[in-house]
């Protein structure tokens, strides 16, 4: 049987010609200038019109539903049969294809989770079955407004903890059992409050992918009650949609903070501060970090407004997702080749690929660092723009009233500072494992400065 599933990291480091601090300063300046540009030029965009409705073909909807339910069944069967190894699909489907790939699809394409969602498919199948045998369900209770999307936030924190702390390497059986338990909770929630109400507020993945989907060029058509149509929209137009509640901003903040934590926990500084903490201490550290970041975000939101924070943070979260997890997706994503040869972790080798070893050695570390840099800085620059546009909507008088415009600018300064801080923090943590510092950083900085000022010839 193949060995247990564990993280596979990139081999080799990028021998940078510049010290890391130069990249950090450059990124901070880029993000800061982005804010200065949108604020000083009072850049604003017209509210873009939604495209016409387009019906999603039935084969695509049913195909996605089939993929979702097959994935769920595969995890459930492996959880029952046991076994551990690289053929484990619970970690593959949840963390690699779900947490990373599906998040990217949701952000850059559209609401694929709407149909992939196995919990909704199981609910629909169960409801159909009950109706067929003549059993009518009870009437759904109205969803308690005061709960908002907080159940989804709580679920999100739980899954973050599961991913970063309760890792239990190689134990897909545990993860599968947890997913089955989560399925039960989701079905109860849908039965109690109605399928759509629970998905909109309580089901963690629907709320998270739906929030990321505000960036996407396709969105569910709000005027189609059947939910079978999408509308084309300019990238990021979804940020201007209403519904930025404290809970929805909090979930984006938790998502962003969790990715930063993942990076920070693999640094020398973390090791020096905390050593190699076990489950209880790691849990406290994680929750404290999430609490600090969410607290900072919600504090800033009291000045800049919830829509500005929500719209500003989503591109950042997506940028971080790419920067931190691209290698994870490219390497561990290959494990499907192993899983199809040993689908139930029984030591089979059906297609001769059970001992395939995923690798990303073909990806030069310099290219990876460039992609990471671009994703983080690009996410922040887009976040500056999106946050400003959302803030403008909250202050419509700013277009005509100079005092209101000034007020708006002042309110966004804390947001700018928060974003610059996050940029530096996440790039620093990423750089610790990628960038090989030059031997004499001071001399390199001096050389760069000399070339830029013309004192030293590049030759």
């Amino acid at each position: 049987m193949a060995g247990p599933a564990v993280a596979h990291s990139l081999q080799g480091r990028y021998e940078s010609p510049l010290p890391l601090v130069v990249y950090l300063a450059g990124a901070a300046i880029a993000v800061g200038l982005s804010f200065a540009f949108v604020l000083l030029h009072d850049t604003r965009a017209e509210t873009p019109p939604l495209g016409g409705p387009r019906s999603v073909p039935g084969w695509l909807r049913f195909g996605l539903r089939a993929v979702g339910i097959i994935g769920w069944l595969w995890i459930a069967v492996q959880a029952i049969l046991g076994g551990a190894g690289d053929a484990d699909v619970a970690s593959l489907f949840l963390w690699v294809y779900g947490w990373v790939a599906l998040a990217m699809v949701s952000a850059f394409l559209g609401p694929a989770w709407t149909w992939l969602d196995p919990f909704a498919t199981l609910h629909d199948a169960g409801a159909w079955l009950l109706r067929t045998v003549g059993i009518s369900g009870w009437r759904a209770s109205p969803y308690p407004e005061r709960l908002g999307a907080w159940p989804a936030v709580a679920g999100f924190v739980f899954f973050v903890w599961l991913e970063l702390v309760f890792t239990q390497a190689g134990s897909g059986q545990t993860l599968g059992a947890i997913l089955i338990g989560y399925t039960a909770i989701s079905l109860v929630g849908m039965a109690q409050f109605g399928r759509d109400a629970w998905r909109a507020n309580g089901e963690t993945f629907s709320v998270w992918f739906g929030t990321l989907g505000r960036l996407a060029p396709f969105a569910i058509d709000p005027d189609d009650p059947s939910g079978r149509s999408v509308r084309r929209q300019p990238l990021g137009a979804g940020f201007e949609s209403p519904g930025w509640t404290t809970a929805r901003v909090a979930i984006v903040a938790v998502g962003t903070a969790s990715i930063i934590f993942d990076g920070l926990s693999q640094t020398q500084l973390y090791f020096d501060l905390f050593g190699l903490p076990g489950l209880p201490v790691s849990t406290i550290i994680l929750l404290a970090f999430l609490g600090i970041v969410v607290g900072a975000v919600l504090t800033v939101s009291r000045m800049a407004g919830l829509p500005a924070l929500g719209a500003g943070l989503v591109p950042i979260a997506v940028g971080y997702l790419i920067a931190h997890y691209l290698t994870f997706l490219l390497s561990d994503g290959q494990r499907i080749v192993i899983a199809i040869s040993d689908p139930f972790q029984q030591g089979w080798d059906i297609f001769g690929t059970a001992f395939y070893e995923p690798t990303i050695n073909w990806l030069p570390s310099g290219v990876l660092w460039t992609v990471q840099l671009a994703a983080v800085v690009g996410g922040h620059m887009l976040g500056a723009w999106a946050g400003h546009q959302a803030a403008l909507q909250a202050e419509p008088d700013a277009a005509t009233d100079p005092a209101a415009a000034l007020r708006l600018r002042r309110r966004q300064v804390p947001l700018a500072l928060l974003m610059v801080g996050l940029t530096v923090l996440t790039l620093w943590s990423l750089g610790q494992s990628i960038v090989q510092e030059p031997v004499q950083p001071a001399a390199t900085i001096g050389l760069v400065f000399g070339v830029l000022t013309g004192v030293v010839s590049p030759a």
């Binding site: 926990s265 790691s282 929750l287 404290a288 607290g295």
Partner: protein
């Protein structure tokens, strides 16, 4: 009689702030508590090398020192990996961090994690 006008209460925010402070304090205290011994380096040998089970290994640290470890029951949370994964680290020279305790003069490793920050 005129009733005083009370400012709106925000218990949830206060509770959130308190919870945050409590957690932060807890983390700091946890960090300041007695830590277990740990070492960082590159795996240079595995014992025994012929079977699947890994009962011990040798680590070369940044200052060139080589440390021998026995493998006890290993914890698998917080990003830790099983001892069998040490073979991959031996083959690729990817650094690891080890938490261990001393038992009868022997270092017994109980937690193994990747150490991507370490430069051999």
């Amino acid at each position: 009689m005129t009733l005083p006008i009370l400012s709106p209460r925000r218990p949830s925010r206060r509770a959130g702030l308190l919870a945050t402070l409590a957690l932060a304090s807890g983390a700091v205290m946890a960090a300041c508590g007695p830590g277990d011994a740990s070492a960082v380096g590159v795996v240079v040998a595995i014992d025994p090398s012929a079977t699947l089970e890994v009962s011990g290994f040798t680590l070369r640290t940044a200052d060139g020192e080589t440390l021998a470890f026995a493998v006890g029951p290993v914890e698998l949370d917080s990003g830790a990996f099983p001892a069998s994964h040490l073979r991959e680290h031996l083959a690729t020279s990817q650094p690891i961090a080890v938490a261990y305790r001393m038992e009868d003069g022997t270092r017994v490793a109980y937690r193994l994690v990747d150490a991507p920050w370490f430069t051999p």
